[in-house]
Subunit: 332 residues, 2 copies
Amino acid sequence: MSQSLDIAVIGATGTVGETLVQILEERDFPIANLHLLASSESAGHSVPFRGKNVRVREVDEFDFGKVQLVFFAAGPAVTLSFAPRATAAGCAIIDLSGALPAPHVVPEANAPVLKTLGKPVQVSSPSAAATALAVVLAPLKGLDIQRVNLTACLAVSSQGREAVTELARQTAELLNARPLEPRFFDRQMAFNLLAQVGKPDADGHGVLEKRLVSELRELLAAPLLKISVTCIQAPVFFGDSYSVSLQTAAEVDLAAVNATLEAAQGIELVETGDYPTAVGDAVGQDVVYVGRVRGGVDDPCELNLWLTADNVRKGAALNAVQLAELLIKDLL
Amino acid sequence: MSQSLDIAVIGATGTVGETLVQILEERDFPIANLHLLASSESAGHSVPFRGKNVRVREVDEFDFGKVQLVFFAAGPAVTLSFAPRATAAGCAIIDLSGALPAPHVVPEANAPVLKTLGKPVQVSSPSAAATALAVVLAPLKGLDIQRVNLTACLAVSSQGREAVTELARQTAELLNARPLEPRFFDRQMAFNLLAQVGKPDADGHGVLEKRLVSELRELLAAPLLKISVTCIQAPVFFGDSYSVSLQTAAEVDLAAVNATLEAAQGIELVETGDYPTAVGDAVGQDVVYVGRVRGGVDDPCELNLWLTADNVRKGAALNAVQLAELLIKDLL
Ligand SMILES: NC(=O)c1ccc[n+]([C@@H]2O[C@H](COP(=O)([O-])OP(=O)(O)OC[C@H]3O[C@@H](n4cnc5c(N)ncnc54)[C@H](OP(=O)(O)O)[C@@H]3O)[C@@H](O)[C@H]2O)c1
Ligand SMILES: NC(=O)c1ccc[n+]([C@@H]2O[C@H](COP(=O)([O-])OP(=O)(O)OC[C@H]3O[C@@H](n4cnc5c(N)ncnc54)[C@H](OP(=O)(O)O)[C@@H]3O)[C@@H](O)[C@H]2O)c1
């Protein structure tokens, strides 16, 4: 049996897919053949991998029998269309689109779940927000967290390539005093904050907000955890920022919290008095940055944190590759 | 006795001061003589008022005996230096700098406090964040709010003129792919979020965060209200945005909340499904915009709100003028 896998990445030309391919190379993932797939629009383009240009092909025409592992990074509709074919061909699936009813796993939070999966393996890499939060909150479970109050300030890249282009275009128009014509976003995104990401449901919650609540409860194995969340769209290209206020059952010992975070995997703790930013710290990095670790102004059972993480890398592509690394022994 | 007042505005060339002078004119405030004061730097400049250019003078040389009312809008140090002279001359003071130990008042929240003031009157217009929050939370007191969880996303103009110039300069540098040289802010502000406004204290709290907690408790006459707050600096020129999650003693009736907010003074409620933004709605307006009124994902005792307000106008200058209007009968 070969010590390398044949792999497909669907959505290989996208924000997440391109980074995923880079990370597979950086971490020297044992790949025999890499198949890069996308829509007809970029079929024929190529993506660099290990010093060669790998041709991108159309997913419709792909024979899933050629690979043992498929990364789905092209949106929920594409996952729903092609996952049945991949499964029928016996492929393991790591889904980044949130479309499959597969367990969500973040290695730093709930890696043991991987041992419970049936065959062929299907596992979900959660939303970037749930991933970052889980990395930081899992080691803090000893605090007996009663409630998480979260404002998630998302980078435009969390909505893909077009959103990135749109923020740049709007900013340039405004700086040049030209009239603003919103396209991808339905209003001014440059120099503004949007209070909602995607269409809300009848109760006013965004899809992503509800997804975050259920994913975070699953990742922390805390099905009754109270979570209030507002996802906002910030005029930042890459890197999410999270303002987190936790309510705990017992008084918070800040020295112990700092020691726990310092020792935890996947976290970079920024010294008290300073703080991380999306652009200055998180982008391009493999860790979630944590700063502004402080209690309440006068509530001893409150812990406040400020997190920043690369939404594309740590929040998606890297987590998916970490999952693949943990699964590889079963797949070879 | 004249039906008009002689008034001084200290900091008349600043972000808040200029707007204050505009609002005095717009609202036809009964002014006999208007004295505009600033530092030696802009003494000699002039500011338009009622179709004339009013010369700006140096505050050091001002005879406070000439006026009955002084607005302090030039920072805490200037208030501390000159308030004693104004008081000695019998002037009423409306302080926008937060430096005086005078009661904080937002007319929509706690106007009756004005009747309890000694002579000469001294009153504080609170921070922009406390002002906006008080306008919205005061009518919701019937909810028996147990806790306010707030992430305040502040416009750069909340730090004055220089911060506005700096965001524009940084953005242009980045769009033109020139190396970034932060000046006013200590790091990249354009396309980024800063987790802290000003230097934190030994416990990690920002001055503004502690001020907000104490001002909001005072404005709502709720000295024990639990408030968790993080103030962040957003790459927005004008207009603050507030992500607010309230915990209440009893179950939240959303229809009743909407009706209360609809009927309240100083608020514009945005229909469910839509939301206001700083730039698109709040800037230049006299109201606090409220949107995303929704419960918890599954907590019946949770109420989430998204507020936007013009930090300079509604958060400072207009509130100060509203205070003056309520005090005028006592001053004439
Ligand atoms: N961006 C993030 O921060 C982030 C974080 C976590 C999870 N995710 C999830 O990851 C997925 C990809 O997001 P993204 O940000 O990378 O989006 P993106 O930049 O817009 O890229 C979309 C990718 O999907 C491909 N695609 C689109 N329609 C297709 C079709 N009909 N058939 C085959 N391929 C198709 C595109 O290929 P073409 O070049 O042919 O158009 C492109 O490669 C989404 O499900 C997203 O929710 C994103
Ligand atoms: N901006 C807001 O959103 C906001 C909201 C609520 C409260 N406030 C408070 O309002 C005050 C003014 O803020 P701002 O944003 O308007 O600041 P700003 O734009 O920087 O303007 C500062 C003003 O103060 C004057 N000044 C500075 N040093 C002085 C001195 N030594 N003597 C006399 N005048 C002096 C300046 O005059 P020169 O032209 O001579 O320099 C200018 O008129 C601050 O206390 C601030 O905390 C601001």
